[in-house]
């Protein structure tokens, strides 16, 4: 469970301060998914980084599983825009970075995660030897390596071609159902938000405020992209984004 209460994020001090997030409150229950959608640069990534414990909110509070959040925690995994892989580490080292930083030898489950994501064969390769789709999968493997209860994603599929993007969206969905983590996805892609968010919070331009929350309970149905419910959610999100 992640609970965000009246969070404000400002950069800079006093008169020159720029407000990126303005009094946002939201709650994501275990096993629930929430997509945050808004224009580029509206402050949605700042909100996500605050939820990851990387930025301390200027005002308000965030708690995860009932405990106040003031630094990154193992139960919270973050997937970054370009997967955040370190080019000098192999696939295996990148995928198990959290465990290695904690001076833990990767467990057998780490190998199982790599196999599940089809990366078992390339674990000794460096990121530069992989396709973009594979790199994203390594990012997912890293996020899963600590069995998190909260998964945060910051535009994880930006700059991918449509087919690869859809394949990885399907993968996210399968993993979300199987591992039952609370999922918070930040995106500016309407279809991605409609495909992966049970609820979609539409944010205003900077500073980010919640403009509207669109319910999307049919999400996760088989062939959801081809259903009228999906088309309807996409249309509602587009209308909400366009509304002043």
């Amino acid at each position: 469970m992640i609970d965000v209460r009246d969070v404000v994020v400002e950069y800079g001090k006093r008169a020159g301060a720029v407000r990126a997030v303005d009094k946002i409150s939201l709650r994501v229950a275990p096993g629930e998914s929430l997509a945050l959608i808004g224009p580029s640069g509206c402050g949605k990534s700042s909100l996500l980084f605050a939820m990851a414990g990387l930025i301390r909110p200027t005002e308000g509070a965030i708690s995860v599983n009932g405990e106040p959040l003031n630094r990154p925690r193992r139960e919270i995994a973050l997937i970054l825009q370009n997967a955040g892989l370190l080019p000098w580490k192999t696939v295996w080292q990148n995928a198990n970075l959290s465990l290695l930083l904690g001076k833990e030898y990767p467990r057998a489950t780490a190998q199982a995660v790599l196999d599940e994501l089809g990366l078992g064969e390339v674990k000794r390769r460096y990121p530069s030897e992989l396709s973009e789709g594979m790199k994203r999968r390594v990012g997912i493997a890293r996020a899963l390596s600590t069995s998190p209860s909260v998964m945060l994603m910051d535009e994880p599929l930006a700059s991918l071609d449509t087919l690869t993007k859809e394949r990885i969206q399907d993968l996210f969905l399968r993993l979300w159902v199987r591992h039952a983590f609370a999922l918070v996805l930040v995106t500016h892609d309407i279809e991605e938000a409609a495909f992966l968010g049970q609820r979609v919070a539409v944010l205003t331009d900077r500073p980010a405020r919640i403009k509207e929350v669109v319910e999307n309970r049919a999400m996760g149905e088989q062939n959801y992209r081809e259903t009228t419910a999906f088309a309807d959610t996409v249309a509602r999100l587009r209308a909400a984004l366009e509304r002043e």
Binding site: P72, L86, K89, S128
Partner: protein, 279 residues
């Protein structure tokens, strides 16, 4: 005729493929070819000077190599003296300038405090300190090592500072979100990401270090037989063949250091070469 042309084309394709492959044997062959070209140009320069001036001011490479062989132990002693001074100075500069440069580049408060000092001292030609150092510390080995180390130190410090400021923020966010401490951020991101540019800077520093070593060695030598290559070259002012042998030995020292840095880079920055191969 047509068949012969086809064979020649095949041979050319084979050679260019092997050069692209950059297998070890081919790299050695290219190295040898490059040295042969250099010696060829030297030979031409030597002939031109002999023709124009009527004196052999620049002995040809064969003579220089034979002279190196003749001088044997005495040249080797001087080579060894210069080599350890230079290597020690590089190590001191590397293990002080590199970490300090990274800290200045990453920690804003330290940057604000140290950078003004660095930018006042850095533009002063370090040669200006030589006389002062000789006056204070005498003409022994420590001063010669110190002069070279100071010159390289600033070079590496400024490079490391610049490289540390160019760190990809996504890499830092990536390790911080994985729970890295400050030390782990340096160890897993800042050091590996800056190493390639620091090794490039180190290559430039070898040339700089050799120039300073030469100045330090000709400015004061402890004993004639072990003064280093600089002192040896200076002592051979009236014997151009011996001088050429000394210069060649100095070039050899530089070559050995460049090769060592190359090998080191291939080991510690293995990921860069894998990337190159796969692209």
């Amino acid at each position: 005729m047509k068949e012969r042309r086809g064979k020649a084309k095949k041979a050319l394709v084979y050679v260019t493929d092997r050069v692209r492959d950059r297998s070890f044997a081919w790299r050695v062959l290219i190295y040898i070819g490059s040295l042969a070209l250099l010696f060829g140009l030297w030979e031409i320069a030597s002939l031109v000077i002999l023709h124009v001036k009527g004196e052999e001011y620049l002995p040809n490479p064969v003579k220089a190599i034979l002279e190196m062989h003749r001088l044997g132990p005495i040249l080797f002693r001087n080579f060894w003296t210069s080599a350890w001074r230079l290597v020690l100075a590089i190590l001191i500069a590397f293990f002080t300038g590199y970490p300090l440069g990274l800290l200045i580049g990453q920690e804003r408060w330290l940057d604000q405090f140290v950078s003004p000092m660095v930018y006042i001292i850095y533009p002063i030609p370090q040669v200006a300190f030589i006389l002062l150092l000789f006056l204070v510390f005498g003409i022994g080995n420590p001063v010669k090592v110190a002069i070279v180390a100071i010159a390289i130190f600033f070079q590496l410090l400024v490079s490391a500072r610049g490289a540390a400021k160019e760190i990809d923020p996504e890499h830092v966010t990536s390790v911080l979100s994985a729970g890295a401490s400050r030390f782990q951020t340096y160890w897993h991101v800042v050091i590996p990401e800056t190493l390639p540019s620091i090794l490039t800077s180190l290559r430039v520093s070898v040339g700089l270090g050799m120039a300073f070593l030469y100045i330090a060695e000709i400015s004061g030598s402890v004993s004639p037989g072990r003064g280093g290559l600089g002192a040896f070259i200076k002592a051979s002012s009236f014997n151009t063949t011996q001088q050429a042998a000394g210069i060649l030995a100095m070039a050899l020292l530089g070559l050995v250091l460049y090769v060592l840095i190359d090998v080191m880079e291939r080991i510690v920055c293995r990921w860069r070469y894998t990337a190159r191969r796969s692209s």
